[in-house]
Assembly symmetry: C2
Amino acid sequence: MDPDTVAKAFVDHYYSTFDTNRATLATLYQDTSMLTFEGQKILGSANIVAKLTTLPFQQCKHMITTVDCQPSGPSGGMLVFVSGNLQISGEQHALKFSQMFHLMPTLSSFYVLNDIFRLNYA
Amino acid sequence: MDPDTVAKAFVDHYYSTFDTNRATLATLYQDTSMLTFEGQKILGSANIVAKLTTLPFQQCKHMITTVDCQPSGPSGGMLVFVSGNLQISGEQHALKFSQMFHLMPTLSSFYVLNDIFRLNYA
């Protein structure tokens, strides 16, 4: 698969998992993974998923606008840059967001080494 | 210097250079550098600067809202994630943008290996 196809498949998988069962995102991170969520830095799969599962909303839906990807250098990683809208249950307006992932290869797939999320306030 | 300070210094330098003399951004990229600009992929310092210097506006000013950074793994790189507003000369409203940089170490500093830019349309 070419990198753009891999990136698109990852993004579809990530957000559909986020929107249906956030706790299972744990399998996509490892102990060295980092999330920066609205400026807050969180290290390791367990802490990351603890953060994501305790966000102050229960139901949400991510709608993706753009997905860009590039190889990240000699370690065989891939950078994935996403923009889109986040509709939170009970909120009238969707929130614009941008997020980047640094995917690193495993034997058969990828894990998320770096994850940075920001809402794009108006 | 701690990574956040390095990232902030890079961002200040990058956008002040962009806003005053885009051609001199060439020194921040190398032949293996990649820019994805609004979905268009461009490889190498010369091509990247050719793109940036022929954008359809002469004067602009970037106003930075957030800067996040993380170490990018074993190769000693650093990921920098920026959100902000871009005011283009002659335009009434600023454009929101997000941009990420993957900085890789050189002997004395960093160069930009990966650069992904997106406008965040309303």
